[in-house]
C-alpha cells in the first residue's frame, strides 16, 4: 500500500475510554502501516505520555466517560501550549451534533471523524491531514515560537498561489497580525475573506480586530449580529462577554455567558469567567453552584486549576460560609502542591479567615503569600494578593502590588481591568481607580523616557543604572528591559567592553527573545552588539 511509507514513521497517540474501541483502533492503525503507537484510556495517561513524547497525530474520543471530554481536553492542551500547532488532533465522535459545537468553538480540532468509520475513510483523511501538516510545518513552527513576524512572512509567501489552503492561510495570517498588535491589517484581511463568503470565524475575527482598534461599539454590534445568525457560535458569546466585562458592564457580560451556558455546558475557561463575573457582581450563590458542579464533574481531571478552587472558596466566603470556604482550600492543597498554587491558596485562605472574623489567622496566611518573589508570580495572582491586603486594611501594600502588576504588564488590558476590579471591590470610586492606574502607567513611562534621554545626552552610567533597576524590578515590561539592554550596548560601544555588563545586556536580550522573538528592539540591540564583535570574540 502506498500509504504505509507515509504513516510508518509518524508517532500516534490514541485516547479512548472504551476497551473495545482501543483494541480495534490499535489493530486498524497497525494494518494501515502505523508503527509508533501509544494507546491510552484517559487524559491523565495521555498527558503523561505527552510529557515525554512528541506526537504527530493525536486521535481522541470526544466522550471519555463521565469526566472531562475530548473538547475540554483539547482546550486544555491549546490554552497551556501543550501541543505544537503542527500536531494533528482528530476528534472521534458518535455525535453529529458535536460538529456544530466544535465548528463554532475557539479550539477546533484539525478534523473529526464521525463514528462509525471505515479504515479506508480514516486513511484517506489522515493522508490529507499529513499533507496539510507538511505544507504548514514552517508556519506552525514559527507560531509555536510565537514569532508572528515570521508567521506573517511565511503566509505572504504562500498566499499568492491561491491554492486549496488559501482561506486557512488568510485565517492564520490574520491571527498572527492580531498577535502582533496590527488590528487594522487584520481587519482588512478578514474583510477580504468576508467578501468571498460571510464565514463565521472571519466575522468574529473582524469583531476582535475592531475591538482592538478601540471601536468597541462596532465590535459589540457585530458580535450580537453573529449570535443572532448563529446562536451556537460559542466563541462569539465568549468574545462578547469579555468585551462587555472589559467596558465595565459585568452584569451584561454575565448574562451573555449564562446564555452560552444554556446552549452548551461549556469549556473550563468559560466556567471560570462566568464564576468570576458572578462573584464580582454580587452573585456568589451562582458562582458556587456553577463551580461546585464543574469541579464535581472534573474530579481528578488535569483540566482543573487551583484558581477554580480559589473562586469557589471566595464565593463561599462572600456568603459568610467561612468554614466551607476553608474546606475548599484544604481540598485544593491535596492536589495542588507547587509553589505558585501555595501562594494562591494562602491568599484564598486569608480571605476565608477574614470572612470568619479570624484576623490573626488571616494575617498569617497573607504573610505566607507575600513572602515569595513577586516576579515569579503571574499578574493575576499579584492582584489577588492585593485584594487580600485590602480586606485586612493594608492599603499601602495593596497599592504596591497593584502598581507592580500594571507596570510589569504595560500592554495587558486584562490586567488593568483586574486591577480596576480589585480597587472597586475595595470600595474605591471609579475615578480614583482610573487615576491610580493612569499614575502607575505614567510613572514607568517617565522612568523609561528619562533613561533614554540620559543615554542620548551621553550620561550612560546614570541611564544604565536607572533602566537596569527598573528592568530587574519589572522583568515582564519589555520596553524597559529592551531599553536597558540597548543603553548597556550603547555604553559598551562608547566606553569599551566590560564582560560583566555585556553578560547583563545579553541576559536582558535573551529574556526578550524568549518572550517575543520578533520584538523590534532586538535588531537595534544586536546591531550595537555587532560593533563590539572583536572584543566579544576575544573573550
Amino acid at each position: 500500500m502506498a500509504n504505509i511509507s507515509k504513516f510508518t514513521d509518524k508517532w500516534v497517540l490514541v485516547i479512548d475510554d472504551m476497551e473495545g474501541m482501543r483494541s480495534q483502533l490499535r489493530m486498524s492503525l497497525t494494518n494501515s502501516g502505523f508503527a509508533k503507537l501509544h494507546i491510552v484510556a484517559n487524559i491523565r495517561e495521555a498527558l503523561e505520555r505527552m510529557a515525554s513524547n512528541r506526537y504527530d497525530v493525536i486521535l481522541c474520543d470526544y466522550s471519555l466517560g463521565d469526566s472531562t471530554d475530548g473538547q475540554q481536553f483539547l482546550e486544555h492542551l491549546r490554552t497551556n501550549d501543550l501541543i505544537s500547532r503542527n500536531t494533528i488532533f482528530v476528534m472521534i465522535t458518535a455525535e453529529q451534533a458535536y460538529e456544530k459545537v466544535v465548528a463554532a468553538s475557539e479550539c477546533a480540532p484539525d478534523d473529526y471523524l464521525l463514528k462509525p468509520f471505515t479504515a479506508g475513510q480514516f486513511n484517506a483523511r489522515l493522508e490529507k491531514l499529513l499533507e496539510r501538516q507538511e505544507y504548514f510545518a514552517g508556519i506552525d513552527k514559527a507560531a509555536d515560537a510565537k514569532d508572528w513576524t515570521r508567521v506573517i512572512a511565511e503566509c505572504d509567501k504562500a498566499l499568492p498561489a491561491r491554492n486549496k489552503y488559501f482561506i486557512e492561510l488568510c485565517k492564520t495570517k490574520a491571527a498572527a497580525l492580531m498577535h502582533s498588535n496590527r488590528p487594522q491589517e487584520a481587519a482588512d484581511l478578514y474583510r477580504e475573506v468576508l467578501a468571498l463568503r460571510p464565514i463565521g470565524w472571519a466575522r468574529l475575527g473582524l469583531a476582535r480586530a475592531l475591538a482592538m482598534q478601540g471601536k468597541k461599539d462596532e465590535a459589540q454590534q457585530l458580535s450580537q449580529e453573529i449570535l443572532a445568525d448563529s446562536p451556537q457560535f460559542m466563541a462569539a458569546y465568549d468574545f462578547l462577554g469579555g468585551l462587555l466585562s472589559s467596558s465595565g458592564d459585568k452584569k451584561a457580560a454575565l448574562d451573555v455567558l449564562q446564555k452560552a451556558r444554556a446552549v452548551s455546558p461549556g469549556t473550563m475557561n468559560r466556567i471560570r469567567e462566568l464564576s468570576t463575573l458572578a462573584v464580582s457582581t454580587g452573585q456568589p450563590e451562582l458562582a458556587e453552584s456553577v463551580m461546585r458542579q464543574t469541579l464535581q464533574k472534573h474530579k481528578f481531571s488535569p483540566v482543573r486549576q487551583v484558581q477554580d478552587y480559589a473562586i469557589l472558596s471566595k464565593a463561599l466566603a462572600n456568603q459568610g460560609k467561612a468554614d466551607e470556604a476553608l474546606n475548599v482550600v484544604a481540598d485544593a492543597r491535596k492536589d495542588f502542591r507547587d509553589e505558585h498554587s501555595q501562594v494562591i491558596l494562602a491568599v484564598t485562605e486569608s480571605v476565608a479567615h477574614r470572612a470568619a472574623g479570624n484576623d490573626e489567622q488571616a494575617e498569617a496566611a497573607l504573610a505566607k503569600a507575600m513572602a515569595g518573589d513577586i516576579n515569579q508570580l503571574p499578574a493575576e495572582t499579584v492582584t489577588a494578593i492585593a485584594d487580600a491586603c485590602f480586606a485586612l486594611g493594608k492599603e499601602d501594600e495593596a497599592n504596591k502590588f497593584l502598581r507592580h502588576a500594571i507596570q510589569n504588564n504595560p500592554e495587558d488590558a486584562s490586567i488593568r481591568n483586574k486591577v480596576h476590579d480589585v480597587l472597586i471591590a475595595a470600595g474605591k470610586e471609579t475615578t480614583e481607580a482610573d487615576a491610580m492606574i493612569e499614575d502607575s502607567t505614567q510613572e514607568i513611562i517617565r522612568i523609561n523616557n528619562e533613561g533614554v534621554r540620559k543615554a542620548e545626552a551621553g550620561q550612560f552610567d546614570e541611564a544604565v543604572e536607572l533602566l537596569c533597576e527598573a528592568a530587574d524590578r519589572l522583568p515582564n515590561n519589555l520596553q524597559i528591559v529592551g531599553n536597558a539592554a540597548l543603553v548597556i550596548a550603547l555604553s559598551l560601544v562608547k566606553k569599551g567592553n566590560d564582560p560583566q555588563m555585556l553578560a547583563r545586556c545579553l541576559r536582558y536580550r535573551d529574556a526578550i527573545v524568549k518572550k517575543t522573538p520578533d520584538y523590534p528592539k532586538i535588531a537595534q540591540i544586536d546591531s550595537q552588539l555587532r560593533l563590539l564583535q572583536p572584543a566579544r570574540s576575544g573573550q
Binding site: 472504551m18 473495545g20 474501541m21 480495534q24 483502533l25 489493530m27 486498524s28 494494518n31 466522550s63 458518535a94 455525535e95 453529529q96 451534533a97 460538529e99 456544530k100 465548528a103 463554532a104 464521525l114 463514528k115 462509525p116 468509520f117 471505515t118 479504515a119 479506508g120 475513510q121 486513511n123 484517506a124 483523511r125 490529507k128 491561491r162 491554492n163 486549496k164 488559501f166 482561506i167 486557512e168 468571498l196 463568503r197 464565514i199 463565521g200 470565524w201 448563529s230 451556537q232
Partner: protein
C-alpha cells in the same frame, strides 16, 4: 429531543463503530461492514431529520477543497463496494469552495451509497463550477431513478422503494437549501442519463 433517545442512539452508533472496525480487519466482510455502516448512517439521518423538523439544523460553511472532499468520500465507498470503480472528476472545480463539510458529506454519502447499490460497474463523482454555483454530482450506470422519485425530487420522504425511504434525499434537499448566499439558495436535481444522476447545486 429526549436525552434518553439521544443517548441510546449514541450508544448504538458506538457499537456499530466497533463492529465496523472489527469487520474491516477481516477479509471478505465488505457486505457485512456495508450493512453496519449503512445502519449507522440511517441513524444519523434520523437524528438530523428530527433536528431539521424542530428547525435546529443550521449550516456552518467554511472553505473546502472539493478534490480532497470527494476523494475521502470515494475511499470509503471503494472499500465498501470493491467490485465497482469510483472515478473522480474535479478538472473544472474551483481551487476552494465554501460549504458545510459535515452536512454535505452526509448528503453525498447517501447519494453515493444509493448509486453504489444500483450501479453495474461504474460510479462517477464530479465537482465543477456552473453559473456561479458549485455542482457536486454522483452518477451511476444502473437502471436510473424510478419515475416517482424523479417527480418528487426529495420533496417529502416517500415510502420505501428500491432506492430507500427517500429520507436521505429529503435531507439532501434541505441541506442544499440551507446553503444560502446573497439570496441564492442551494438545490438538488435528479435525472436519468445512462443511469441515475444526482446533482447538488450550492451557491
Amino acid at each position: 429531543m429526549n436525552e434518553l433517545y439521544a443517548a441510546v442512539i449514541h450508544d448504538v452508533k458506538n457499537q456499530l463503530a466497533e463492529l465496523a472496525l472489527r469487520l474491516g480487519d477481516r477479509a471478505n466482510a465488505q457486505q457485512e461492514m456495508n450493512i453496519a455502516m449503512n445502519a449507522a448512517r440511517r441513524l444519523t439521518e434520523m437524528l438530523l431529520a428530527i433536528r431539521q423538523e424542530s428547525e435546529q439544523l443550521s449550516v456552518t460553511p467554511d472553505s473546502v477543497d472539493t478534490a480532497d472532499f470527494l476523494s475521502i468520500l470515494a475511499a470509503e465507498y471503494r472499500e465498501l463496494f470493491p467490485a465497482l470503480t469510483i472515478d473522480i472528476d474535479t478538472a473544472h472545480a474551483p481551487a476552494f469552495a465554501f460549504f458545510d463539510d459535515a452536512l454535505v458529506r452526509l448528503a453525498l454519502s447517501n447519494a453515493l451509497h444509493n448509486a453504489c447499490r444500483s450501479a453495474k460497474r461504474h460510479v462517477k463523482l464530479a465537482a465543477r463550477e456552473q453559473d456561479r454555483m458549485l455542482v457536486l454530482e454522483v452518477a451511476d450506470d444502473g437502471p436510473g431513478f424510478p419515475d416517482a422519485m424523479l417527480a418528487n425530487m426529495g420533496d417529502t420522504p416517500t415510502s420505501a422503494s428500491s432506492r430507500g425511504t427517500g429520507l436521505g434525499l429529503y435531507l439532501a434537499r434541505k441541506i442544499a437549501e440551507l446553503h444560502e448566499l446573497e439570496g441564492r439558495c442551494g438545490r438538488i436535481e435528479l435525472s436519468n442519463n445512462g443511469g441515475a444522476v444526482f446533482r447538488m447545486f450550492l451557491p
